[in-house]
């Protein structure tokens, strides 16, 4: 079941005009603040009525300006996890969790209270009042509350934005379990944190000034040189899948990717597990010759696919490494001096530190 969104909406000083699909899995809506992310998710939830357009979930039309269809938020079958949790302070955690369960159609499948408590690790807080919870606990309760209303799709508006680094790391595994678990709910995930998206999303929609600038499978969009200015030059970089082969005693692990092997520190996944690697474009160095005597051991043979000059002195280089695509950011001067052009074979040197432990998931 997929969500199709095609809406236009005007505020004073802001115009939204977007069209995108969100398939199964996690679809991330990424954009800077003011790009229209929350407006879109509120329109999908039915909390905001767009001026024009259509929103449908599978065959169910949720909103259609042309025919005047505007399904109430209550009847859209969507669970919404807000950035600020919005727990009911006068109810206990259990009462919050069970708030919506009585309104969902009886025949609609969904998790039980026990399922949700186990999934989100809420055992210890069930009798507590929301006012006494930490930020991370609040978000887990909000997520559980949405799940127990037995939605057919989940909307999440920057659920981790109000949390500090360690708290984020506490919650991300729960979101991954949700993505990979038996519930298999499609999720529309709004974020402006590239690391979260790289870790969680299957599909990525990049927003800029109220419009969709790029959309597609995560691996493709992240490796698209045109996406570099949208993601930010420091955050841009390909995401590739790897398999853990071995852990050595010195803390380095060996991972296999389609173009060869990488040695990376801080990999916590089990041997045989598939993990995502994030290779920041600014941390990839290109060399025409086989490099020797380097401190980095991660050198991959690559082919230049595209050279994409940026606005400044930099250029984004799309690379093919085996079946994977990588992104490198070099200076325009280097492009000239090396004669980088599509089809050219060269070597990419990745610093082992280019993949942060937090960006390794699945």
């Amino acid at each position: 079941m997929s969500l199709t969104v095609d809406i236009r909406h005007r505020f004073a000083g802001f115009a939204l005009d977007v069209s995108f699909d969100a398939g199964p899995g996690i679809t991330a809506l990424f954009g800077r603040s003011g790009a229209g992310k929350t407006t879109i998710i509120n329109a999908v939830a039915g909390l905001l009525r767009p001026d024009e357009g259509r929103i449908a979930r599978g065959k169910d039309v949720l909103f259609d300006a042309a025919s005047g269809t505007d399904v109430r938020p209550q009847a859209r079958g969507l669970g919404y996890v807000f950035q600020d949790a919005r727990l009911f302070s006068h109810l206990s955690v259990t009462e919050n969790l069970m708030f919506g369960s009585r309104y969902a159609p009886r025949d609609r499948p969904g998790p039980t209270l026990d399922d949700v408590v186990a999934l989100l690790g809420l055992d210890a807080v069930l009798t507590r009042a929301p006012g006494t919870l930490s930020g991370g606990e609040k978000q887990r309760v909000a997520l559980g509350r949405a799940l127990l209303s037995r939605p057919r799709m989940l909307l999440m508006d920057e659920p981790l934005a109000s949390l500090d680094g360690p708290r984020k790391q506490d919650i991300l595994p729960y979101l991954e379990r949700l993505r990979d678990g038996p519930l298999g709910l499609p999720i529309l995930y709004v974020s402006h944190a590239v690391d979260e998206i790289a870790r969680l999303a299957d599909r990525l929609v990049l927003l800029q000034d109220g419009r969709v600038a790029r959309q597609g499978p995560l691996f493709e969009v992240m490796a698209d040189p045109a996406a570099v200015p949208l993601l930010g030059v420091r955050e841009a970089g390909a995401v590739i899948e790897a398999q853990v082969l071995a852990h050595a005693d010195d803390g380095l692990s060996t991972l296999a990717i389609s173009a060869g092997q990488l040695e990376l520190p801080g990999v916590r996944a089990e041997i045989g597990a598939r993990v995502r690697l994030r290779v920041l474009a600014q941390d990839v160095i290109l060399s025409k010759d086989q490099p020797r005597g380097l401190s980095s051991v991660n050198v991959l043979p690559v082919t230049v696919e595209d050279v994409h000059p940026g606005d400044g002195p930099g250029a984004a280089i799309a690379l093919k490494a085996g079946a994977d695509r990588l992104l490198a950011r070099v200076t325009a001067r280097a492009v000239d001096e090396m004669g980088l052009a599509p089809g050219m074979a060269c070597h990419a040197i990745l610093k082992a530190t280019t993949v942060a432990p937090g960006s390794i998931g699945r």
């Binding site: 039915g46 209550q74 969507l78 919005r86 009911f88 006068h90 708030f99 309104y103 006012g131």
Partner: protein, 229 residues
């Protein structure tokens, strides 16, 4: 002994009138407070002014207007009289006067409470599937309970103390429309009536203090629950 009996009668009547006025006014005041806090409609300013009118009009004027509207010779009064609901010179008229005089205070307290509720919580309840009435009953109402309580206490206190509009509208008939303030005023008109007045003044003070203490205790419980502690 007859002195005390009259005082007890007045106290009983005042409590009776004040309780009825409070109970009847709460739902109406809540509805009007809701309209003023959450809705925009034509005539909202007029409604607001009308609600606040008894606060600024001399109570005697309010009482006189009630007499014009609901007196035995007024069409409305005659209609109600024929239905057995005659208000003039009847304790139910004192209830009406108390409701109208206390209404602005109740609406103000409740409106502030409603405005303090974050509509985002109600949105969250809607996305969880709760119908509008359920959102009001399960989210809004518990959160505004302290404001309703505060409004009710204000209304009750106003009803206990209301004098001018009441005596103008329903007169001062012992055992029927003579409330505690009317009885105190009457006692003070009679030479040597100060001792009887003093008894009733003490009664009025005790009722007022008890009402404040009760509302404080309730407010603490409600506030603790709402703070989620």
């Amino acid at each position: 002994m007859s002195v005390d009996a009259a005082a007890w009668d007045a106290l009983r009547l005042s409590l009776w009138v004040a309780c009825w006025a409070t109970v009847l006014a709460i739902p109406l005041a809540l509805w009007v407070a809701w309209l003023l806090a959450r809705r925009s409609f034509r005539g909202k300013g007029l409604l607001n002014a009308l609600v606040h009118l008894p606060l600024v009009l001399p109570p005697v004027v309010t009482g006189y207007l009630l007499l014009i509207a609901f007196g035995r010779t007024a069409p409305m009064g005659r209609l109600l009289e024929s239905l057995g609901l005659g208000l003039a010179f009847h304790w139910s008229g004192a209830v009406l006067a108390a409701i109208i005089m206390g209404f602005p205070l109740m609406v103000r307290a409740m409106r502030l409470a409603i405005e303090a509720v974050d509509p985002k919580l109600e949105e969250a309840a809607a996305t969880l599937g709760a119908p509008r009435m359920a959102i009001f009953a399960r989210v809004t109402l518990p959160l505004i309970a302290p404001g309703i309580l505060a409004g009710a206490v204000m209304g009750f206190a106003k009803a206990m103390g209301e004098f001018g509009a009441t005596i103008t509208f329903v007169a001062n008939i012992p055992g029927q429309t003579q409330t505690l303030p009317s009885a105190i005023w009457t006692a003070l008109q009679i030479p040597g009536g100060e001792s009887q007045a003093a008894v009733m003044v003490v009664m009025a003070c005790i009722v007022a203090l008890a009402a404040v203490a009760l509302s404080e205790a309730l407010a603490r419980r409600v506030a603790a629950r709402i703070a989620g502690l």
